[in-house]
């Protein structure tokens, strides 16, 4: 009887304490909204400036496969050399070919979203495949006219294709499986802005000014005096992507599929204090 009572008490205590912990958890403010005990004015400040891209990039892929790895190496080596030679023959100072990581894989294999625990190889023999992504970069295009950019891009694409390279984002995906992420950024040519520090500075300045204007409006309508900034949070940081495993692309850059001014959007959350009058004190 005693044992039953003890067990019951223990269960009750456990249930009670876990319930209080749950209440405590939900009582915490969610990160996406301002804290409940906020003081002052919290306003958003937005700004948008734009700049012409300074870089054009074209993705190429060089791959070779064979059952004999030695053959795959010869094919890969020759294909890579021909692409480098073809671009070197252009003798354009602002064009360079950047190499990304080398993938040693099995030909024709891919991740199967419908099959857990791997997939069967239905082929008698495995072919080793060597794949490397090359990125052709033409810099300093900001000063060029649209016609000149067009000519440059056409030349780069022609040279790449004549050299036998596969141009553009590779469609190494399963055509029967819908995955929206696979279809992103599949344009043939990428216009990049990666030297936008000055524009960024301007955008931040404008965003703070925008926030201040909004806060002043609120203060005026509330008949209080606006105090100093007590907190600032960046809501949207232009050109920064979260880091990913095997990330090969610089984290800070802005890209566009079209040759146009690329917008730099800054979105801030700014909290201003309320300057208290002597009466309020």
């Amino acid at each position: 009887m005693k044992r039953t009572l003890l067990a019951g008490a223990a269960a009750l205590y456990f249930f009670w304490t876990s319930g209080s912990a749950q209440a405590q958890y939900f009582g915490q403010p969610m990160e996406s909204r301002p804290p409940d005990n906020i003081e002052g004015f919290t306003v958003s400040g937005k700004a948008r400036v734009s700049a012409k891209p300074n870089l054009v990039e074209i993705d190429l892929e060089v791959s070779a496969s064979s059952e004999l790895t030695a053959d795959a190496i010869v094919k890969y080596r020759d294909a890579r050399k021909r692409i480098h030679d073809a671009f070197a023959a252009l003798k354009l100072k602002n064009v360079e070919v950047e190499e990304r990581g080398l993938l040693v894989d099995q030909k024709g294999m891919m991740q199967n979203p419908y099959m857990w625990g791997g997939q069967m190889n239905t082929r008698n023999k495995t072919e080793v495949q060597l794949t490397r992504k090359l990125v052709v970069k033409a810099s300093n295009i900001r000063e060029l006219s649209e016609e000149a950019v067009l000519q440059l891009v056409a030349k780069l694409l022609d040279v790449a294709q004549d050299a036998g390279a596969r141009v553009g984002a590779q469609n190494n995906f399963n055509p029967y499986y819908y995955n929206p992420w696979q279809n992103m950024n599949t344009s043939l040519v990428r216009f990049v802005l990666d030297d936008f520090d000055k524009q960024l500075e301007d955008a931040y300045e404008k965003a703070i000014a925008d926030a201040k204007t909004r806060a002043q409006r609120l203060a005026r309508l509330s008949k209080v005096e606006l105090g100093p900034v007590v907190a600032v949070r960046e809501v949207a940081i232009p050109g920064e992507r979260p880091a990913m495993a095997e990330d090969e692309v610089p984290r800070k850059r802005l890209e566009a599929g079209k040759f146009q001014d690329i917008p730099i959007n800054v979105d801030l959350m700014v909290r201003f204090d309320i300057r208290r009058t002597p009466d309020q004190k």
Binding site: S65, D78, Q119, T122, Q161, A165
Partner: protein, 714 residues
């Protein structure tokens, strides 16, 4: 208690068995060894019955015990109708039971030979006496196959050799005489004479290495003999030399003199086309935008017509529509129908169920032969038909559809014309009730009337490929594309389904097959519920075996093995793995040129890959010009010229064929013809240099670049 003890013992015993099984060295599985009876192989040659295999096993068992009477008796239980069935031989070859039996008899120990003659000499002699008249050949073949080591075996082989030689079967004749020389040490026949005959047959069969061997043997061993043949008498080695020299003189006299001239094909400057035939524009005429999009997304729009040239006329088979063009003027001479009718097909997506590589054409003299099917026939399994037309007018002479010989046959590969016959691969449709697996067949046809002279079965498919051609989104489905070549009285068929086979061109008798490892060309991998996750890979077009010296270089469409076969000695000269997508383009000196994802140069003596060049869109299909002075391929970006030694791209001649998917290049005496999925363009051949002018008055100069024949065709 007893039950517990028994259970414990059983447990102990099973554990011990399992442990011993684990400890036993694993039997190494030779994954390269292929057998005709392997159930996972796509094609099985006509297999010998189980009784035959049992008889051979019995022979082997009794032979080990030296029970010769029983061993030989076992061998002779093999029914005669099984003699032409196939069984695994050595080195991957699949040979007839008759050959296997002869090999076993020839390898008998002396004691066994004595026993053998005791039992079978009488029967062999009876057969030899009966070998006359209409049964002569059959009886001699029977003795050669079943009683070769009897006292009359050598005589029968000698007579059979003579018989074959007269029929033009030089390979077989040589084999008969060589077998007496090599396997009958006690023969009474003149070995010198046999050697001369064998040497002459080897010469005619193009077996040069063996010929040299025989020559040196004759010179070393039989120089004292005097033999007579063809009205000449001399020492064997000298006689053989004389006979070969006189043969050479006759051949040289019969061959037309070749026109001398620079062999270079230069495309280093932009040259205008002499003419261009725009057939795709004819199909698209009148299409609205939506229809045009639909047509362009249809696989039919990417089809490159099959083209052949005879004299000054170009004949093309464009999806069953036949056209003749005068190559001098580029003017159309006749056509079998308007291309515009293809527009209706653009709205149908069933083209994905059809292997359009089967549309082929062949021309010789005043006739042309085309393989095709009516595109309007929406029966996916409608067989392809062979049609013979007059070259001058396109009038139909005969068509397989009207002839009963072709009932239940689906003609499935490009025909070849050799030795006055038309040879074509075909698929049989199972048995009379249309049940069972289809067979791979080869037909010999009388070219002028379509009469089937013989029909030989190469084997049965283990999967019904016809049901595996379904595709999605208009993707063209491919299937095994059998290819034929003719070589000194023999037809070789590369089935691209794991078997290369040799047939006698006269009789259609199947000599042997060579089995190589391959994946099925069209499996079920395209269906997403059957493990489709391996990306469907576009296979390269099937190549015909390539002659390289005395060997045949072979690469199956879905095989990762490249091998060279000595078909006369039935040996694999060499083999090496290659990419599955590789195909054979040609040889230049000691370099083998291969297509596929890239164009590659393989050094044959070392079997090493020298270079690989990726041309735009790869080299999976299309006829590539392979010549010692360069390689040329028509791509979507123009005609790419490569250095055959290094693979360096010399130049890309843009020409007038941009906007196409690429296609075939054909070289004639005066023209370079580029055949794409939209146009046929004729560029003049001319010597290098900007000074090479065009126009009527420069015809003489342009003609100076004649090399005398169509070269380098795949």
């Amino acid at each position: 208690m007893k039950r517990w003890v028994i259970a414990a013992w059983l447990l102990l015993a099973s554990t011990a068995i399992a442990a011993s099984a684990q400890d036993a060295p694993a039997k190494p599985k030779d994954e390269d060894k292929v057998s005709n009876d392997q159930p996972d192989r796509p094609l099985q040659m006509p297999p010998a019955s189980t009784e035959v295999k049992e008889a051979l096993d019995d022979f082997d068992r009794f032979k080990r015990r030296s029970a010769w009477e029983r061993a030989l008796k076992a061998l002779y239980t093999i029914p005669e109708d099984q003699a032409s069935k196939f069984i695994d031989g050595e080195n991957g070859f699949i040979i007839p039971v008759a050959s296997k039996r002869r090999q076993l008899l020839a390898a008998l120990a002396p004691a066994a030979q004595t026993a053998y003659r005791l039992f079978y000499d009488a029967e062999a002699q009876r057969l030899f006496k009966e070998a006359a008249g209409p049964n002569e050949l059959k009886s001699l073949e029977r003795i050669y196959s079943a009683y070769f080591t009897t006292s009359v075996g050598d005589n029968a082989a000698d007579r059979l050799g003579d018989f074959y030689f007269e029929l033009g079967h030089f390979d077989r004749a040589a084999n008969c005489w060589l077998s007496v020389l090599r396997e009958c040490p006690d023969t009474d026949l003149s070995r010198g004479l046999l050697g001369v005959k064998a040497g002459l047959a080897l010469y005619r069969a193009g077996r040069r290495t063996e010929l040299e061997q025989i020559r040196s043997e004759l010179a070393d061993r039989y120089s004292d003999e005097r033999v007579s043949l063809g009205g000449q008498t001399a020492a064997p080695a000298a006689l053989l030399g004389q006979l070969i020299e006189s043969e050479k003189a006759t051949v040289d006299a019969e061959q037309p003199a070749r026109i001398a001239g620079p062999a270079n094909l230069k495309l280093d400057t932009e040259i205008d086309a002499d003419w261009q035939f725009k057939f795709a524009a004819s199909v698209e005429a009148g299409m609205n935008e939506a229809e045009l999009v639909q047509w362009e997304s249809n696989a039919l729009s990417a089809v490159v017509p099959s083209v052949t040239i005879d004299g000054s006329t170009l004949f093309a088979n464009y999806l069953g529509y036949i056209i003749a063009i005068d190559t001098k003027s580029g003017k159309m001479l006749w056509r079998s129908g308007s291309f515009h009718h293809l527009e209706a097909m653009g709205n149908q997506n069933f083209a994905g169920m059809m292997d359009t590589s089967r549309f082929t054409i062949l021309a010789a003299g005043d006739q042309i032969w085309t393989l095709g099917r009516d595109l309007k026939d929406q029966n996916f399994f409608a067989p392809f038909q062979l049609v013979c037309r007059r070259a001058t007018s396109g009038e139909v002479v005969w068509q397989s559809h009207d002839l009963s010989d072709y009932a239940q046959l689906d003609l499935c590969g490009p025909p070849i014309l050799a030795a006055g016959k038309l040879f074509i691969p075909a698929k049989g449709q199972g048995n009379q009730q249309n049940q069972g697996m289809p067979q791979q067949l080869v037909l010999a046809i009388q070219p002028h009337d379509g009469k089937v002279l013989w029909k030989s079965e190469i084997g049965s498919f283990r999967q019904n490929q016809m049901y595996n051609r379904w595709g999605w989104g208009g993707n063209m489905m491919t299937e095994a594309q059998p290819r034929l070549i003719y070589r000194v009285g023999a037809i070789y068929i590369e089935t691209h389904a794991g078997v290369l086979a040799r047939l006698d061109a006269d009789s259609g008798a199947l000599d042997w097959g060579y089995a190589y490892q391959t994946d099925p060309v069209q499996g079920q991998g395209r269906f997403f519920w059957n493990g489709y996750m391996q990306m469907p890979e576009t296979p390269a077009t099937g190549s015909a075996p390539l002659e390289s010296g005395e060997t045949l270089v072979v690469k199956g469409m879905q095989s990762t093995k490249l091998f060279a076969l000595d078909p006369n000695r039935m040996k694999v000269a060499w083999e090496r793995p290659v990419a599955r997508s590789s195909r054979l383009l040609g040889t230049i000196g000691t370099n083998l040129i291969m297509g596929g994802d890239e164009i590659c140069g393989l050094d044959l003596p070392n079997k090493t890959l020298q270079w690989a060049t990726r041309v735009p869109n790869g080299c999976l299909s299309g006829r590539v010009l392979v010549r010692p002075d360069g390689l040329w391929q028509l791509t979507s970006r123009g005609i790419v010229e490569l250095d055959p030694k290094s693979g360096e791209v010399r130049r890309i001649f843009r020409g007038k064929d941009l906007g196409t998917v690429g296609g075939d290049l054909i070289l004639t005496d005066t023209l370079l013809l580029a055949v794409s999925n939209r146009t046929i363009t004729a560029y003049p051949r001319r010597p290098a240099g900007p000074q090479a002018s065009r126009g009527e008055d420069s015809n003489a100069k342009r003609l100076s670049s004649i090399t005398g024949e169509n070269e380098g065709i795949e």
